[in-house]
Symmetry: C2
Subunit: 533 residues, 2 copies
Amino acid sequence: MKKLRSVVTCMGVFFFCVCGAFAQSVPAVEQWGRFEFALRGTPIGNPFNDVALEATFTNGGEEVTVNGFYDGGGVYRVRFMPEKKGTWSYATVSNMPALDGKTGTFECVNPGTENHGPVKTRGMFDFAYADGKPYYPFGTTVYAFVHQGDSLENTTLETLRNAPFNKVRICVFPKNYEFNDREPEYYPFKRVEGVELIGSNQTAVWDFTKFDPEFFQHLEKRIDRLNDLGIECDLILFHPYDNGRWGFDRMTRPNDIRYLEYVTARLASFRNIWWSMANEFDYMKEKTLADWQAFLETVAANDPYGHLRSVHNGDTLFNHHNPLVTHASVQSASMLSDFGRGSLMRDAYLKPVMFDEVCYEGNIESRWGNLSAREMTHRFWQGALVGAYVTHGETYLDPDDIIWWAAGGVLRGQSPARIGFLRRLIEQETGALHLIDNWRTLNASMGESGQIVIYFGKETPTEWAVTFPAKIRWADGTQFNVEVIDTWEMTRTPVPGTFTAQTIARYVIGEADGKKIKLPGKPYQALLITRVP
Amino acid sequence: MKKLRSVVTCMGVFFFCVCGAFAQSVPAVEQWGRFEFALRGTPIGNPFNDVALEATFTNGGEEVTVNGFYDGGGVYRVRFMPEKKGTWSYATVSNMPALDGKTGTFECVNPGTENHGPVKTRGMFDFAYADGKPYYPFGTTVYAFVHQGDSLENTTLETLRNAPFNKVRICVFPKNYEFNDREPEYYPFKRVEGVELIGSNQTAVWDFTKFDPEFFQHLEKRIDRLNDLGIECDLILFHPYDNGRWGFDRMTRPNDIRYLEYVTARLASFRNIWWSMANEFDYMKEKTLADWQAFLETVAANDPYGHLRSVHNGDTLFNHHNPLVTHASVQSASMLSDFGRGSLMRDAYLKPVMFDEVCYEGNIESRWGNLSAREMTHRFWQGALVGAYVTHGETYLDPDDIIWWAAGGVLRGQSPARIGFLRRLIEQETGALHLIDNWRTLNASMGESGQIVIYFGKETPTEWAVTFPAKIRWADGTQFNVEVIDTWEMTRTPVPGTFTAQTIARYVIGEADGKKIKLPGKPYQALLITRVP
């Protein structure tokens, strides 16, 4: 082991000969794809705990060390996501001789056309894939997606294939909550041998130091399928909806950390993974702020690729200024209910802001679960208008309690189609929006394209006198066209003619001939305003 | 000098004999009062620049080193604010022999009844004087207060004596802006000898390395008078409203730093000083974020007492998470215009939030200067309701352009009386408020007293069905009384009878017998709800 360690540290100058059981050919792996190899070793003690395995990958000056993990049945695995093309070599280090000193090589080749790499932050407020393609999150929520069994899970995937969402929030741990009392098929931990379950409290049944690889293999299959659909997986690592039933929400700190190390060893190489440290961290009364800091540090230390990290709140915001937090993941029932409120999160955090819970479209009695489709759509527009990103969820009652927000299945609501309409507008035309003058004009934004979007929300004007905040800096004489967008009907209606900008007051640019825009006097109208080139 | 330094470093074990010109008696200084001594030395070179003078004060284990400063006419001064009672000894160190090695002693005695010490932050969101007495800022704004000449400045002080304000925002530098084109009587810098002023741009006239002590002596007199009136001085160190006329807004970094060192040497010992690094930092296009960081660091390093520090914005918020920023000083035209918006700043910054510009009560044409008195009062209530602190300003047209917001003089508006009414309610009864359920109920807050305040703003209900967020955690059967407050008329009307709390839904506590509160159907009403002991 000592010998190998010295090789690892000055690896740059060594050529790694392909040797051993995994060296029959040089595999090719896409950039941002996943390279994986397996090693066999007789398990000793608690193989999750007692066996250390890591591998260092090198490619020219690049060197990345990743943790391996025990996958059951005497198999240990190492996974790696190459971020750089070319020849990668690796060597393992382990305290188990059978796993130690294994070396190999693979070729990292061009990514496929649908592979743009993992999502990173872009600028101060936005996101892009690693290849530079902008990514605008339009997410949905299926908390207990992976705990529903193949039939329903496949239905969910089929729904997602045809839905407008490119991100989904799912939990590792199963959910014990209203409408969610089914036992899952898989559990993340092994049962303690010889302990009988008495009553519904299962906490004594689980050995939190021994993982069940089958659970994780199943989870991984689902994450890969999401990736096939172009969907980012915002993986929720802890949540309070266990409510003590299994006890996964109230493990000790050492068990929490071991769990995070295991999850990151297995999943950090998945291109579409994001780490959501929690849903509603503040409702997990057993955890302290020091715990969340330790969790963030553990995940950051064990994810060499720097996948996105966030901490979602119940009613008390996490301190999103924490440098380990890549973007603010905010639950709020009220921040997107009117103009410009959401912008304040951006202004304060100077990071991308995602409204990962804004209540759900549905008809359940709980106050967070009965938005109309119009209100959900409105919140997406309010979010988009301030350059924040909104996550959908749906809670329509179902005779079998198959509710999208937790169980998946099919979507019944009317907001997804409208969300898709908005997504196309942002992705294909305007790019990310930001308020032009957040000091006072809270319904007018400019896109990365230079186009202006004005949104009237629940107001029902029949005409709009052209007035832009002077900060658009359009010279007098600038010509522009206007389209009226009905965000609910998903129609776009060009207004005939062109218009001419002219400064009409200290802070205001208007129309040179005083032309006005006719509007239908209905709610949820918007304008898309484009300069004539 | 070397010898003295060694004395200074092990000062704790020495007894300082009272010696030299300042040792005729042992002066007594109140705790948080100001101890000052003067030394004479023949000025050499640029005495502001070339003479170094500091003094170390010790009292038991306490040791505080402060900078001295040149006050003109061959006089150098050292000022010190003792924070601990007992006997303080001091010794100077200087590169000018006449100023070096001077020692002395004074006695720090009990503070007077009106002296509660400097204001510090209290808990996460509030303020208190050093003696623990809570301080609730109710400020106003008179930017160019000290540049108006004795007559008007005395009028301003007389107005403040009778006004409800306990903080005032004033600028060190004079103001060149609309309604503000008068030349001040004093300037902070000396004129360059032999340079003639040509045209209105005076930048070449000033020697930014030489201060005019008369200017600062005048400023200090004003700050002390404010202190006599129980008013904190939020001193604005830089601002953009020079617009290049004198050039005080666009000095070089070394001159800026020297200026801050001089100001802090003179003023850090003033009990009621706060450091507002800027008004509208983002409108000072010549300064970078690195400049602001350097300014914060300079002020913090040269103020051993840790007076409050903030950076006020134009339309882009400063990063108030900066650890050198003690509280968020926010300008916003819209954050207090409706319910709960202001709370988001608190939620995001986890620091006290002061809305130091919310537009002004007045009638000038500029969009920031024509709030009605009702709207100004409303914004104070919106701020108080979310546990944030609001600053007043007034901009009524005047034939001589004597407008309160910049020049002082007299107050003409109708909001100050209402602000005083609110201040008394907060100070004498409720204490600081915070939203009970900021997830969704944005008009109901609980005070430190445990009382509940519900504010209806511009709504005009004729009755209120008792509904509290369940988070008040009042047991069923809790009895309470209700007062209707007319925030505009400044009346408080007890509602006859007592009421009884009862949980009526998952998130809602109501009234056991379904009693409702009658309201007058007018805007700007509030309720004060108090448990029966």
